[in-house]
Amino acid sequence: MKIMVAIKRVVDYAVKIRVKPDKSGVETQNVKMSMNPFCEIALEEALRIKESGLASEVVAVSMGPPQCVDTIRTGLAMGADRGIHVEYPDALYPLSVAKLLKALVEVEKPGLLILGKQAIDDDCNQTGQMLAGLLRWPQGTFASKVILDKEKQAATVDREVDGGIETLSLDLPAVITTDLRLNQPRYATLPNIMKAKSKVVKKYTPQDLNVEIKADLEVVQVTEPPKRKVGVVLSSVDELIDKLKNEARVI
């Protein structure tokens, strides 16, 4: 069985981001980029499934400008077998990504798709769900545990939901999106980074996959959140009630 993992190149989580002066977005020039942490967890899960013998190949897919290949190489260094890069210079929104992944699924025919639950730059949490919808495949999102059953061709997924943990059984092929507690991603070791240089990364463009990219979303403005105001120490309960009534207007 082949597993396809979608990974995204985002601003590194430790970087202090800045809004561009023209408020059109976040400053990404001269800023450290790395693999989305949830995508790392997705890739780690795929690699563990492969190491346990239940899958034969792990393919890492990324979409975006040419620098995405660096992120794919990191994935290859972690242990993925092949990489696919869909080159597109502008921003890609979840629906476009889902359509492109659907086209790739028709080419590669994987038995399992693992994605991160969301990207830390846009926090959309949509791609996995949209993809499952387009493919008409079952989905197990926010996975905190994944167990595959080869004979029954099913996956048991523990989902972290608001009320607790929900356990689902999905028939394969399926889409799984990973949550934080699923696993601890491995380090890419130096020898593996060297070996990854010779692994294959195939390039596609949206035209090759017959997908038309329509920007269905437009970013109007990006601003910093309002600065938290300094707290005030009050002297009496009456003052508190007065402030709640007249300043905060909540009572």
């Binding site: 202090k16 450290k32 190491e51 601890q184 491995r186 380090y187 070791t189 130096l190 020898p191």
Partner: protein, 681 residues
């Protein structure tokens, strides 16, 4: 194989429940071969430190785990019950002693599975020799992967990358090839690079003459040069001692990134995110370095993501770690390189820098300002710099020589004070800080140059120390030293000549003449600010370095710290949040990050010294000079102040390694990829 897996207690890591099926199958064979090969001592002694930790989880009472020389005690409060999880061949040694050390029960042994039995030995006073010396120990620095290169370079900074580029250029010229590997502890090339920087392109003109056409990030020529003497409210213009014609205001982090790209284009292999933590020897010759083990948790045990460090062997090893490089310092001591060189100890300064984005009408690209005087007193050498780059960005920094005497001095707070000076404030008003960082720099100059060649390689760049102090420039000399070492290495590898040619080449180069002429400026300040300025003026306008004598440095920086009782504590004003900031806010802007679950990389040679010496005698200076608030004295349960090390904050500046009065703090490399994330510094 031992199968006594027991539940871990609550306080322990999740990783203790090893799921055998998930460990790579090569792990056990590595283990077996390590044990069968007997004790494997880390040749460089304790440098590996925790990386040789044993896979032991805690038992009752204090448990010592680790390699022969470095042990880490795990407090008994973290465990309950006798829970021990062992891998075959593990050595463990536990003792339980009561508070007053009345009864000592030593229980030591090696887990079975390899034919070694458990033994009880009492009163094992020197257990590292007595017990472990006779048994087999599993050291993770035993066998691991080893990769061979022609040249291994530690540090992807200006010196390291210039050396790498020069090597590949010479290969092309002579139609041969050498494999060159550069390891860098930062997460990416340039992440740990911080400098003023007014760049003199002299070395780059020699290295890559066509840099102007290759989109090098050098595009702001110096447009004006000012030198101010500050008092609390005023700024007096002094004649400018610098001649920056032909120089550029740059971000060194950006330039190094560009150099990295050029190096990769030539075929240099650069591996960021890997920290060289140990020097490898064959007898007394350096044969390469070993990277840090990754995935070791705070208490020394291996996490499930454990990856052993890799040995990178080179026929020649070049150390380009920057000022006070951890491996370089070890080699300087081991091979007595300071005595063999110009003999004087190295002296240092701490530079703290912020990059601001200021209002358009205040921004003058290429404007260079240096200040002297306030807020420092006449006995403390230091000053500030303000360089305008492009895109409305301004580099603002404050440099304090680390031979200051008052233990209450807080360089970070002095910097915050400086920003409120009217001459500086008017520039910064309406602006915002983009990045923050700090790094120490060399001030020893000519007198402190060590003999930079050791058997198996050489030290280049600021790790040796070629900074021109009166010019405050070290980038061009660091790059040139890298190039000269590369040329010497090339002939050593192709023709079998000696690396000593590097030393000869240095002495014949323009580095030597430049540093020799600049040698008497800084030492003159030992006598105070005014005598220093006087001598500097004479040197600059009259003697120009031709004086027949060479002034010596004063005491080493750590010895220069005076005792606290001779100085009143300094009260620093609170930060206002727009011009001045507290340390956590600034630290956030440095993009510093370390995996929190790793052993602290700041080691105390004697753990009692902070509370016994630093705090009572010097008022805990490390809690003041550290620009990242790594060291804090916090009251414990009994109200006594104890040193708390927030290793995660570390900016890798090395100030603590330099300034600790008893030289008790040893800076070692944390897991690769951690540390600051400078991009425009």
């Amino acid at each position: 194989m031992v199968t006594s897996f027991v539940h871990c207690s609550r306080g322990l890591r999740r990783s203790c429940s090893i799921r055998g099926a998930k460990m790579p199958s090569s792990y056990f064979s590595e283990l077996r071969s390590a044990v069968q090969n007997g004790i494997r001592k880390s040749a460089a002694g304790c440098d590996g430190g925790v990386q040789s930790s044993v896979e032991v989880l805690v038992g009752q009472g204090k448990l010592w785990s680790g390699n022969l020389r470095c042990f880490h005690s795990v407090p008994s409060s973290a465990v309950s019950g006798l829970n021990v999880l062992l891998r075959p061949g593990t050595v463990f040694h536990s003792r339980s002693d009561s508070q007053l050390g009345l009864k000592r029960d030593y229980c030591s042994g090696v887990s079975p599975g390899y034919g070694l039995g458990i033994r009880n030995s009492r009163n094992c006073s020197n257990f590292s020799r007595g017990f472990l010396g006779k048994s087999r120990s599993f050291s993770s620095s035993g066998e691991g992967e080893s990769i061979q290169y022609d040249v291994v370079i530690v540090g992807a900074g200006p010196a390291g990358l210039s050396a790498a580029i020069r090597l590949k250029q010479m290969c092309r010229g002579k139609d041969s090839d050498l494999s060159v590997c550069v390891v860098e502890k930062g997460a990416e090339v340039g992440a740990h690079i911080l400098s003023g920087n007014v760049f003199e392109p002299r070395a780059l003109d020699e290295l890559i003459p066509q840099w102007k056409n290759e989109e090098a990030p050098i595009n702001v020529p110096v447009s004006s040069d000012k030198f101010w003497f500050l008092t609390k409210d005023r700024a007096f213009s002094l004649p400018c001692p610098f001649d920056n014609k032909g120089n550029y205001v740059i971000s060194l982090s950006q330039l190094v990134r560009w150099l990295g790209k050029k190096a990769e284009e030539l075929g240099v292999e650069i591996y960021p995110g890997f920290a060289a933590s140990e020097v490898l020897y064959d007898d007394d010759t350096v044969v390469g370095i070993k990277t840090n083990d990754m995935g070791i948790s705070k208490d020394g045990t291996k996490k499930e993501t454990f990856q052993q460090g890799v040995a990178l062997k080179g026929r020649i090893t070049l150390l380009a770690e920057g000022c006070r490089g951890s491996l370089s310092e070890k080699l300087l001591r081991k091979f007595n390189l300071r005595e063999k060189g110009h003999g004087q100890h190295q002296t240092y300064a701490l530079g703290i820098k912020e990059v601001w984005e200021i209002e358009e009408h205040k921004h003058k690209p290429g404007s260079v300002i240096h200040t002297l005087g306030w807020p420092l007193d006449n006995k403390t050498y230091g000053g500030s710099f303000l360089y305008h780059m492009n895109d409305r960005q301004v580099s603002l920094g404050f440099v304090v020589a680390l031979n200051y005497g008052n233990p209450y001095l807080n360089p970070y707070e002095e910097f915050q004070k400086l920003k409120h000076h009217p001459a500086i404030k008017c520039l910064l008003d309406g602006g915002s800080v983009l990045q923050y960082g700090a790094r120490t720099l060399n001030e020893g100059g000519f007198q402190s140059i060590p003999f930079p060649v050791f058997p198996g390689g050489a030290i280049i760049g600021c790790s040796a120390g070629f900074l021109n102090v009166p010019k405050i420039k070290g980038t061009h000399t660091a790059m040139k030293s890298g190039m000269l070492a590369a040329e010497a290495a090339f002939s050593a590898l192709q023709e079998g000549s000696s690396m000593d040619m590097y030393w000869d080449a240095l002495r014949k180069s323009w580095i030597w003449e430049e540093l020799r002429l600049a040698r008497n400026y800084r030492p003159a300040f030992e006598y105070g600010l005014l005598p220093g300025l006087g001598v500097s003026a004479f040197e600059h306008y009259v003697f120009k370095g031709r004086l027949p004598f060479t002034l010596k440095h004063g005491k080493p920086d750590h010895e220069a710290t005076d005792v606290a009782k001779r100085h009143p504590p300094i009260e620093y004003p609170r930060p206002d949040g727009t011009l001045s900031f507290d340390v956590p806010t600034s630290l956030h802007r440095s993009n510093t990050n370390h995996d929190h679950d790793q052993p602290p990389h700041l080691r105390l040679r004697d753990p009692t010294v902070p509370e016994r010496v630093n705090l009572p005698e010097y008022a805990g200076p490390e809690s003041r000079y550290c620009p990242a608030r790594v060291y804090e004295y916090v009251p414990d349960e009994e109200g006594k102040l104890k040193l708390h090390i927030n290793a995660q904050n570390c900016l890798h500046c090395k100030a603590c390694d330099i300034k600790d009065p008893k030289q008790n703090i040893e800076w070692t490399v944390p897991e690769g990829g951690g540390g600051p994330g400078y991009s425009i510094m």
